[in-house]
Point group: C2
Chain length 345, copies 2
């Protein structure tokens, strides 16, 4: 039996569009292997309008419109209010995919988008770290009370399985702590500085290839890494933590000079994240560290990331994600969707 799902995309930036492409690519496989078909009944964007069509939006046309700078409004069939929440209410979907920009301070307006989705009876898949650290308890309770799923595999390390790893594969294990490299941008910047660039030159290059944002502070000052540490602590260690509570040092103190000094003894500077209990106290930290070739962090280059978990039953379980891109984040959304479908059957 094939079941049809109505999908709603709130957010149609790099990740949302990569997800649309992945849906197109996997359409046949989803039908034959997982017994599901889908209509995308709504797409909203930040600057390119929005469209609702209960018969299903033509994804190729939507991609072409937005990528040529035009508006989705011409595909719209249902009059709806301008806000994202009004859009979500008008969509009548089964699953909401929330990929609007991250707000590290308080997780809004994504928390509201997700709440609205639940109120409309939709499962929610998000790639957004903000709601995970600032709304986790409230949103999981809301989902549970309505027998709906909240999934967010792509919020940390893109599509690499982290949260799902702790659902079934690691049943019976208790997480004691973790360390790793969770911010792709600074990892690339440090590589560029190792080639002799100053931080400013590295940032300019990062911006030219779309890895570094116009305001680089979110990455360079360790905010993005801190929000990921907070998300892992909150969800996997049941220790609620905001990014503001992470002991945070960015990479502004790292110069080509001290990178050269480290290189002379075969070491590299990395922005290292860590969390865990030390003598009964919970410590969470983001700070540059020197690592040698005997560390699994040494070979984590460019935009790759890596985390090592310490569990009561496994002394060290590491997860490496090499060379991610928007399409790997899109896979995390797809895997979340398929897990929702599986649980619903």
């Amino acid at each position: 039996m094939v079941k049809n799902y109505r999908l709603v995309l709130a957010g149609f930036g790099n990740v949302g569009r990569a997800f649309a492409r992945l849906l197109i690519k996997k359409e046949e496989e989803l039908r034959t292997k997982y017994g599901l078909t889908f209509n995308v009944t709504g797409i909203s964007t930040g600057r390119h309008g929005s469209a609702i069509d209960q018969d299903g939006i033509d994804l190729v046309r939507a991609l072409v419109l937005v990528e040529s700078g035009r508006s989705l409004n011409e595909l719209n069939k249902v009059v709806h209010g301008e806000s994202t929440d009004a859009f979500i209410k008008a969509c009548h979907g089964d699953v909401l995919f929330e990929t609007t920009p991250v707000n590290p301070i308080n997780g809004q307006p994504a928390i509201d988008h997700i709440s609205t989705g639940f109120e409309q009876g939709m499962h929610v898949v998000t790639a957004n770290k903000g709601p995970v650290v600032h709304g986790y308890q409230k949103l999981t309770e809301l989902a549970r009370s309505r027998n709906l799923h909240l999934m967010f595999e792509s919020a940390v390390m893109d599509g690499a399985p982290i949260f799902s790893l702790f659902r079934e594969p690691l049943m019976g294990a208790k997480l004691l702590g973790f360390y790793g490299i969770l911010n792709s941008c600074t990892n690339l910047l440090l590589d560029l500085m190792a080639e002799g660039k100053t931080l400013e030159e590295a940032i300019q290059y990062g911006q030219s290839i779309g890895i570094t944002e116009t305001d680089p502070s979110n990455d360079v000052d360790g905010w993005d890494a801190s929000i990921k540490v907070a998300a892992l602590s909150t969800v996997l260690m049941l220790h609620p933590l905001t990014p503001q509570e992470v002991d945070r040092t960015g990479i502004r103190g790292i110069s080509p000079n001290i990178i050269r000094e480290a290189a002379m003894v075969g070491e590299k500077w990395k922005l290292v994240c860590s969390a865990g209990y030390e003598q009964g106290d919970f410590k969470a930290k983001v700070a540059p560290q020197r690592v040698g070739a005997d560390s699994p962090l040494y070979s984590v280059n460019g935009t790759s990331s890596f985390v090592v978990f310490t569990l009561d039953v496994l002394p060290g379980l590491g997860i490496l994600e090499s060379n991610p891109g928007p399409e790997t984040t899109a896979f995390g959304l797809l895997a979340d969707f398929l897990n929702i479908v599986k649980d619903a059957n």
Copy 2:
């Protein structure tokens, strides 16, 4: 509601005993968190007799008996035939944990043990690679026909989640190939040779600490690595493969001299496993390779292992297991058990 499970342990060596210890340690957590209690109703050993008791065998006593070189027969309450299969038939269990020694040539007698378990209506969890490469199709069909589970997380990389990773977390992804270090013993031997030992001296040391077997050929000639490559290919790539079909070179050609040569340019020799399609042909290989500090394999020391998967949707997903021991293998058995229980509810 708490449900009781009757567990049968066929095999009570390092792994079986570590599993018994883990059951004792996690008993309270299993009851409160997973709503299950258990009786171990049967234990069979290779050289220390066997015991069946429907009221539950005292695990602490069983551990003490075997570890002081005595027989389990004094705990036995049910007359049964001497063979392991006769033992399994007499046990009346719900889940069989099969941890008898690996037979890389044809997977026997473990295949028969597992078949007998299914015929008696038991789910089966095994840490044994033999049945996975030599009996996968037959055993999975037998399990399916009786609505029972066959689980074998611990067969490759101990308790690190590999097979379970591909069940739910990686739904929707297609595995294209993999490479890594899958044999702990040779990885340690190569480390010891890097310290100046000859292969023979390294083997002697490995034997003295219980890492290397009396006949080291299984590890040193690449058989153990090949059987793991075959297991991953068979199960995860749906490409049935026996260890005999893997292009296999062990580490006998590696000398302290050529290790020194590699070290002079910052490289190490590792026994590298790989499999995947090359121009349409499936290639599976085990062979020593030189790796530099920029490879994620470089920092995999001692008995640690590491595998990198290439998927259609993730260019590189690596799993590192640091410093495993019998207790990490035991965790794989526990995780399999909890996943069976979850699916049964």
